[in-house]
């Protein structure tokens, strides 16, 4: 049996770049177990803050043939996390039971070495507590028995208005997450480093329809073609009772 590996699957075809996941992540985590997520100089000219999730925007092609890609990015909870073995204190660790990569804030000495070993720029240092922080996959939400079962999901997943974020065990072939990866060509980021990110992304998909000329002219409308059906009598019963006349 393969090990359980919780992760997010993010559909780039659906994400509209609204940053709802960013703000909900910040809100949940700054007030929870991983918090606070401090903002230095928040109202000044150059604010600097800790976030576990960022939504970036990219553009492909040359105007006017361009395509915009909104790209949410958080810790990918790699199955071979390069950030873990380099930590000298053991504060950074990957949980056996569900594959979540976490930092033990009571052990971290704030040397920042782990952040050098993450190619995705997913770790953000908390200058106030002096420890390294990162996405926890909302570990303090997803197992919380006081929350109703269907809301035991990461804050960002619940917040996404477009439904672009799927949460689940990617090693369980029956899970929604694993199925989404399998059916929609889900891919990992920068596979060349062998980090085996658990979070996957679903590609942009082109939606097209082919129209043939005959579909543009009305050839078959036996009932409603103008002037062909007699106007029903006012008292004729109709399906909804009002719209016929």
């Amino acid at each position: 049996m393969t090990k359980k590996q919780l992760a997010l699957v993010i559909d780039l075809n659906v994400c509209v770049g609204c940053h709802a996941c960013v703000t909900s992540c910040k809100e949940w985590n700054t007030s929870g177990w991983a918090g606070p997520l401090p903002d230095v100089n928040p109202y000044g000219a150059d604010p600097n803050g800790v976030f576990f999730n960022r939504v970036q925007t990219y553009e492909c092609g040359t105007f006017p043939n361009t395509e915009t890609i909104h790209f949410p990015k958080s810790c990918l909870h790699c199955e071979e996390p390069p950030c873990v073995p380099v930590c000298p204190t053991g504060a950074s660790y990957k949980r056996d039971e569900d594959g979540i990569v976490l930092v033990d804030y009571d052990k971290c000495i704030g040397c920042k070495y782990c952040s050098w070993s993450c190619p995705y720029g997913a770790r953000e240092f908390d200058p106030v507590q002096g420890v390294m922080k990162k996405c926890t996959l909302c570990v303090d939400r997803i197992y919380d028995q006081t929350i109703e079962a269907e809301r035991r999901k990461p804050a960002c997943v619940l917040a996404c208005p477009a439904g672009a974020r799927i949460f689940g065990d990617i090693n369980d072939p029956e899970s929604e997450a694993a199925r989404a990866i399998r059916d929609n060509g889900g891919f990992p980021l920068m596979p060349e480093w062998g980090t085996r990110p658990a979070n996957h992304y679903l590609p942009r998909r082109k939606t097209t329809t082919t129209l043939h000329p005959d579909q543009l002219t009305r050839v078959d409308n036996p009932l409603k073609a103008e002037g062909e059906t007699p106007r029903p009598a006012f008292t004729t019963p109709t399906i909804d009772g009002v719209s016929s006349w």
């Binding site: 803050g49 960022r54 970036q56 925007t57 553009e59 092609g61 390069p82 002096g130 060349e192």
Partner: protein
């Protein structure tokens, strides 16, 4: 990467200390098993540098009161190994200084050809071994960061070793001159060769770093297979840990200027000063040069994560 002054001082100070310890042992063997105050004071000097380095390293940690925890993961982390080796080497340097100061030289082993290994020599060899191991650890801390192309090669380790040895022997030459020791000539000569060797290796790495190609591109970073991709926004208009820790102030201009500076001041000038018989000045000059070298080492390093942080907005 952002050059951190704590690490710049740590690596240059302990590099010189390790080099000095190796120089002392080499001098001890060169002088035919001498012992005495010269070596004791020299080791004390190395110990002082090691301690200064430790003090500098404390400034690098946000939670230094838990620093002891950093010894926990020596099986997987080069940083952890370094954290263990620095105090171990300090202890060895202390022992080395003590036995030389008191002139204890009991013979430990007598070899087949009649040569004897006494306690000072055995301890010297042990100190040398520990110093070399520490060079490897320090170098590997950077060389094992795969995501920085400029660091991820054996040359990083070679350079830490050679630059540490060069500055250590130059320091030993200066120290021998001040003590009017007979070893002064030997130390100066070795320092010149090591500095030249270090110059060649470091210059090669500089050249190598300007020619290599980046390993990852935006294509694989966001998984979109398009020939033209650009970032419109990194997702925030301010800054974050990722935009500060992984960039150097000053930009490419500063790196180029400081590279020329450290090649001249850290290597060429010290060789000239050593040859001119001014080892004290040579060491001071070289140390300043090596500070600049370390700054460039960080500033020149481009981390893969920077692909994700290109456009404020």
């Amino acid at each position: 990467m952002k050059p951190a002054f704590s690490v710049i001082f740590l690596t240059t100070l302990i590099g010189a200390a390790q080099g000095l310890l190796i120089a002392l042992t080499a001098g001890q063997m060169y002088a035919g098993g001498q012992s005495g105050g010269f070596f004791a004071l020299g080791a004390a000097l190395a110990l002082a540098l090691l301690c200064l380095g430790l003090v500098a390293s404390v400034f690098h940690l946000a939670n230094p009161q838990r620093g002891w925890r950093a010894a926990a993961r020596w099986r997987t982390s080069w940083l952890s190994r370094e954290v263990i080796l620095i105090p171990a080497l300090s202890a060895l340097a202390f022992l080395y200084a003590v036995i030389h100061a008191f002139g204890w030289a009991p013979v430990l082993v007598r070899l087949g050809n009649g040569a004897a290994i006494d306690l000072p020599l055995a301890l010297g060899l042990l100190t040398t071994l520990a110093s070399l191991a520490l060079f490897v650890c320090t170098g590997m801390i950077y060389a094992c960061v795969r995501f920085i192309r400029q660091w991820a090669s054996g040359w990083t380790v070679v350079n830490y070793l050679l630059m540490g040895l060069a500055s250590g022997f130059t320091l030993a030459a200066a120290y021998a001159r001040l003590q009017d020791s007979l070893l002064s000539g030997f130390m100066s000569g070795a320092a010149v060769w090591l500095t030249l060797l270090a110059l060649a290796a470091r210059a090669f790495q500089l050249w190598r770093n300007t020619t290599g190609a980046p390993c990852s591109t935006l294509k694989s970073a966001i998984g979109v297979h398009h020939a033209q991709i650009r970032q419109i926004t990194q997702g925030f208009m301010g800054s974050s840990f990722n935009t500060v820790e992984f960039t150097a102030p000053g930009g490419a201009e500063t790196v180029r200027g400081l590279s020329a500076f450290f090649l001249a001041v850290g290597f060429v000038a010290p060789v000239a000063l050593l040859l001119a018989g001014m080892p004290v000045l040579a060491f001071l000059c070289q140390y300043v040069g090596l500070l600049a070298e370390r700054w460039v080492f960080f500033a020149d390093a481009d981390h893969v994560q920077n692909l994700y942080y290109q456009a404020k907005g």
